[in-house]
């Protein structure tokens, strides 16, 4: 922990994102601390919920019988991300920490990126911004130190937000718990900060509350390629049904914001309503009410609405887990 807390040091999980970014000099940790031999690799399920160790591999989590049975939304989302090889390497904690795939962040040839080089401006806002954010972004112009329209690339995070998961962290000041929905940040005025993890803190696990959506959930991922591609838009939808009426809903979107985007507006619009297309369209409109597109990603607003409707429709039909 002390080594990992040293200035500029980073913990190494699967390395699928960190090692990749180090090869191009985007990440330059002063030291890497390999934590793969310290345990934290179990999934423990009970009636009241589940605890997932930070070092549980994405493939093991997705195929864990208790997760498949009680949280199929999480399995579905995990298996929608990356490739089988990468899922065998990637960890739960590492997935929470993965960086944006914004081209201007990842390519050192672009000088302007407020996330990589704070204060340098944003190359994406007036650049090729097809994969970028439509909700919660900071747009004060390309030259501003605050501007950032990067998106969080994870599929797992979107499902965890819809499920109401919490992140357990340990640090120099002890242990604390952060809801996943509050773990990632919007860019605000500090786009270089992705999460609310404090220096020296280590993610030790994720907890899931008692399963509400085991029977009715769906993960829909719209992308440029059918497999092994990041989301243009993704939707994690969970419905708790009482007959034909929606008792409660969990709804989150990926690929649209700097963080996995939970839509409380959509969840509230669905509660107590019949599970039909009209309810789903209202929820979709509520979820995207504040959306703003750019030159290359304006299509995402309508795409996201369609995805919300389709994911909710599939969720209502039920999953055969």
């Amino acid at each position: 922990m002390r080594a990992g807390a040293a200035e500029g040091a980073k913990f190494l999980g699967g390395g699928t994102n960190l090692v990749d970014l180090m090869k191009d000099g985007v990440e330059r940790p002063s030291a890497l601390v390999d934590i793969n031999h310290i345990g934290l690799d179990k999934v423990e399920a009970s009636a009241g919920g589940a605890r997932i160790g930070a070092l549980v591999k994405n493939s093991d989590l997705a195929n864990h019988p208790d997760i498949v049975a009680n949280y199929p939304l999480l399995s579905f989302a995990l298996l929608s991300g990356a490739s089988p090889q990468l899922r065998n390497m990637a960890t739960t904690g590492g997935n929470l920490m993965q960086r944006t795939r914004c081209y201007y962040f990842m390519d050192m040839a672009f000088p302007a990126c407020n996330k990589r080089a704070p204060g340098s401006g944003c190359g994406a806002i007036d650049g090729f911004n097809r994969i970028h954010a439509i909700l919660g972004q900071t747009d004060e112009g390309a030259k501003s130190a605050h501007t950032c329209i990067a998106t969080n690339p994870s599929d797992m995070n979107v499902a965890m937000v819809a499920l109401g998961a919490q992140v357990e962290v340990r640090g120099p000041k002890g242990k604390r718990t952060i809801p996943v929905v509050d773990f990632h940040r919007l860019p605000g005025k500090t786009p270089e900060v992705d999460t609310n993890l404090r220096p020296g803190e280590l993610i030790v696990g994720v907890t899931l509350p008692a399963a509400r959506f085991a029977k009715h959930s769906w993960y829909l991922k719209a992308r440029d390629r059918q497999s092994y591609a990041f989301a243009l838009v993704s939707v994690a939808a969970g419905l708790e049904m009482d007959g034909d009426t929606i008792k409660s809903a969990g709804l989150a979107l990926g690929g649209v914001a700097h963080k996995p985007w939970r839509s409380r507006e959509a969840e509230e619009a669905l509660a107590g309503k019949p599970a039909n297309e009209e309810s789903f369209r209202r929820a979709a409109d509520a979820a995207l009410a504040g959306a703003h597109g750019y030159k290359d990603n304006a299509f995402k607003v309508e795409l996201a609405k369609q995805c919300v409707v389709r994911a909710l429709t599939q969720a209502a039909k039920g999953v055969a887990a």
Binding site: K10, L12, D41, L79, Q85, N88, K221
Partner: protein
């Protein structure tokens, strides 16, 4: 770059709790000793240049002894902490079957089996593979005694130039094992087959999607994997 000085550390590194969702303070300290034992230096061109300028090029590279089993042969090696498993195989051990395509975990040409699971060796640090059992294309079969996957790729002409083939075959070998134990894919969920899903062509395409073939030999690769998974499902050897 080891920021834990020796006198801060207890010496019983073998007592690390393996299931410590609840770590005690003491376990935390013990855990950190293991951590420090595998501290790897990051890439820092400036720092490296500074070390070289000071006339000590060796200091720029932190060399660490590792023990690793490769194709059932136990190796004791000293590696630069920045070495990828792929570079260790190709540049240090002359096992050039595993290929470097993109070197960024996107193409799958470097796929090897690490403790029986397929991984991208280009994104695996050699020091992080300490103690692991690695199987490369060279360890799957021999020219006289090909593995089932190697035979199937030959039989179905599952390649053209051959550059991606070692990674494809390692991946296909893992697909058979994953299917045998009932692992799921996103196709399994999309089709509602979440209990021991049948390995359809759509399943094969999804499960092999981490291996790119620039020649486009995909139909024949699918045919090879179809034969392998069907044979395995019927109780035959993979």
């Amino acid at each position: 770059m080891n920021r834990c000085s020796e006198d801060e550390l207890p010496d019983e590194t073998s007592e690390v709790s393996r299931d410590e969702m609840e770590m005690t303070r003491r376990e935390f300290v013990v855990a950190s000793t293991v951590v420090s034992a595998s501290v790897a230096m990051g890439w820092s061109p400036e720092a490296a240049a500074e070390e070289v300028r000071r006339g000590d090029p060796a200091a720029a590279a932190k060399m660490v002894p590792i023990s690793i089993s490769i194709n059932k042969q136990q190796r004791k090696l000293t590696v630069d902490t920045r070495t990828s498993l792929l570079d260790l195989l190709r540049e240090h051990l002359d096992l050039t079957g595993s290929k470097k395509g993109c070197d960024h975990g996107q193409c799958g040409a470097c796929t090897v089996l690490l403790d029986g699971r397929r991984v991208n060796s280009c994104l695996t640090l050699a020091v992080a593979a300490q103690g692991a059992e690695v199987t490369t294309i060279e360890g799957l079969g021999t020219p006289e005694n090909l593995s089932a996957a190697q035979s199937a790729f030959l039989e179905h002409d599952g390649f053209q130039c051959g550059y991606c083939t070692p990674g494809q075959i390692c991946s296909a070998t893992a697909v058979v094992e994953e299917a045998r134990r009932g692992d799921l894919s996103t196709v399994s969920f999309a089709t509602g087959q979440t209990t021991k899903p049948p390995i359809t062509d759509d399943e094969i395409r999804e499960r092999m999607s981490g291996n790119i073939c620039r020649c486009g030999a995909y139909p024949n690769i699918v045919a090879a994997v179809r034969e392998l998974t069907a044979r395995s499902a019927n109780g035959g050897a993979a």
